[in-house]
Symmetry: C2
Subunit: 345 residues, 2 copies
């Protein structure tokens, strides 16, 4: 029998952030595709759309009028998944029917007044303003005594459930630590307790040495395809220093983060010459007043596309029931992301 | 402040099979929808399609010709995610770059020679034949010494990545216990060790008493919307007896399972008067020669639709990064599923 080679042989890789495995099937990229094709986003948008509920001056569904804002604008989601009011609740200890009320705040953050833009098309200065507002929101929401976690994220593209192309993201702040974050935190903590360094510091140092999956690097951040990536073009931005949240960012860090955000999203747009859809979000320390030395700032990008602007990876039957599965290796994806020419503004 | 009510207030519910929570936002179903619409499946199909690589007598991409089969037909996937050959491998203990070769077999199972059918449109007798073949495959694959887990599943509909409407499912048999199954097994085992009964026996007994989320019931099986359902119309079929795999099914059990499969999928088709897409699959004991008293046969249905045949639930930013989230309560979904009239064949 031949000897193992990760370019040709099916294998599993371990994700130490989630304590789970992903099945990698390099030989499978060759299979023919006869399935669903996605409608690519229309690329041409006006700078102002009178029907868009996020554009300056327009009215939202509930009648509230947006101000004539310039740059970044944040407001409470009119149809939030959370409500800020507390309710009284008699806790019962029932192993099989455990439930608890949840309390929180959902915010919408418009990245720009300009309806036609996306992050990669904005200037580093304008993106730096977005990062500053993320920091402010994390701080202000996190300060509320009933808010223990602040999730900052963006769903980009209709294929990712985004119902409006106006550049925007969301912030869900809540009482509980959400399940995925709790798992990551446990794994980070186990590692920190064992080694006295953050998992991602040690991982990043190794990745810089290997230099196979790194896409971009500046003085403060690295963007790479993680060894255990599950989505075809999944990436992570990791801070070089073990900063545990946005609060530890200097102004310089904010600019450098904006820079790498722009460069990475430009690379994405160039892969399939399309406005590249993704869900992305920041993982950082919960706001529960613990010290959280184990936390290390990072941002995940989970893009759905696989073969072209219109063919995505389906995480379905096997993936939902058994294990995440990918067809091209993380190293092949990194090569594709690295080689594309930077032809943005 | 008002007192908690699961019909009006956001809350979290605990999934004891996966040891994670789901955020339930009953108030959110009211939000307007301006996002992506799905193309419903074309409903009219011919009984034989000369271009279908699953129809009897046709040639597959690799040139192999299907026999003129009647009923169920199983073969090895021409583009499997797994390969059956073993490879040699030097195991290294590296916490951050853990990897291992994986070995296995991917099978495709055509449910019928008739290209135009779907499970709900097949007779109970014909579905019983599918169940028998599932049992046979589980037994034969599981007997191989390097196969420790057999995942039986179906992706139905283009929206679930299914590239061919010919009624079929898949079977992925492999060396390792996949991550989701390993987690479920751990939770089932903890429960069994503590109580001496299977988690799902106790759960089912409670659900039968409450009778709020049960959709269908016969002598051997129950179909219900689990208390912790994440997908809008997620359901589970659970055996009444703690059978730990298909091997424990009598012929009568196979017929009763076929019956409930038919009735449940008919209910699905009736919700939005469409051929209802889903990913579904069986969770049962691994084939690793352990006794697995903790396992209790069940089948999960994860359908993507939310509001209509063309509007699905997007499990995206918050869900991928933080926690599963749903808009209508499991009890509301159960009501919708229960009330629909059975108007199939
Ligand atoms: O095997 P198929 O039908 O070509 O592929 C489909 O099911 C597989 C198993 O869930 C997934 O990995 C693929 O993404 C999906 O398109
Ligand atoms: O809040 P939106 O943009 O209306 O909704 C989108 O993002 C949410 C958070 O990831 C998801 O729960 C929704 O399914 C998705 O359509």
């Amino acid at each position: 029998s031949s000897s193992f080679n990760s370019k040709d042989h099916p294998h599993r890789r371990y994700n130490p952030l989630l304590d789970e495995w992903v099945l990698v099937s390099p030989q499978r990229a060759k299979r023919p595709w006869q399935g669903q094709q996605e409608e690519p986003l229309p690329n041409v948008q006006n700078q102002y759309d009178p029907k868009c509920y996020l554009c300056p001056g327009n009215s939202r569904v509930n009648g509230v009028q947006n101000p004539q804002y310039e740059g970044v604008y944040v407001f409470d989601n009119d149809f939030g998944a959370l409500l800020s009011e507390g309710v009284t609740f008699d806790k019962t200890e029932d192993e099989l029917f455990k439930t608890e009320p949840e309390r929180g705040i959902n915010r919408v953050i418009c990245f720009s007044h300009d309806h036609s833009l996306t992050l990669p098309e904005m200037s580093v200065e304008a993106i730096t303003n977005v990062v500053s507002v993320w920091k402010e929101e994390y701080q202000n929401l996190g300060r509320l005594d009933y808010i223990n976690h602040v999730q900052i994220f963006e769903n980009k593209g209709a294929i990712m459930g985004c119902s409006n192309p106006h550049p925007h993201g969301q912030i869900w702040a809540q009482l509980s630590i959400p399940s995925q974050v709790a798992r990551t935190q446990q794994n980070l903590k186990n590692y920190y307790d064992k080694h006295g360094t953050t998992l991602l510091s040690d991982y990043l140092q190794r990745e810089i040495g290997i230099n196979e999956r790194i896409i971009l690097e500046n003085e403060a951040f690295v963007a790479l395809v993680p060894f255990w990536a599950t989505w075809p073009f999944e990436t992570m931005i990791i801070s070089k220093m073990p900063l545990n949240s946005l609060l530890a960012f200097s102004h310089e860090d904010q600019v450098l983060f904006a820079q790498i955000l722009k460069d990475l999203t430009v690379k994405y747009d160039n892969i399939f010459s399309t406005s590249f859809p993704y869900s992305a979000g920041i993982h950082q320390a919960p706001t529960d007043l613990e010290s959280h030395e184990e936390w290390h700032f990072h941002m995940h990008f989970y893009p759905p596309l696989l073969r072209s602007a219109s063919v995505k990876k389906f995480m379905v039957g096997y993936e939902m029931l058994a294990e995440a599965q990918r067809d091209i290796t993380p190293e092949q994806s990194a090569d594709i992301l690295k080689k594309k020419f930077n032809n943005s503004l």
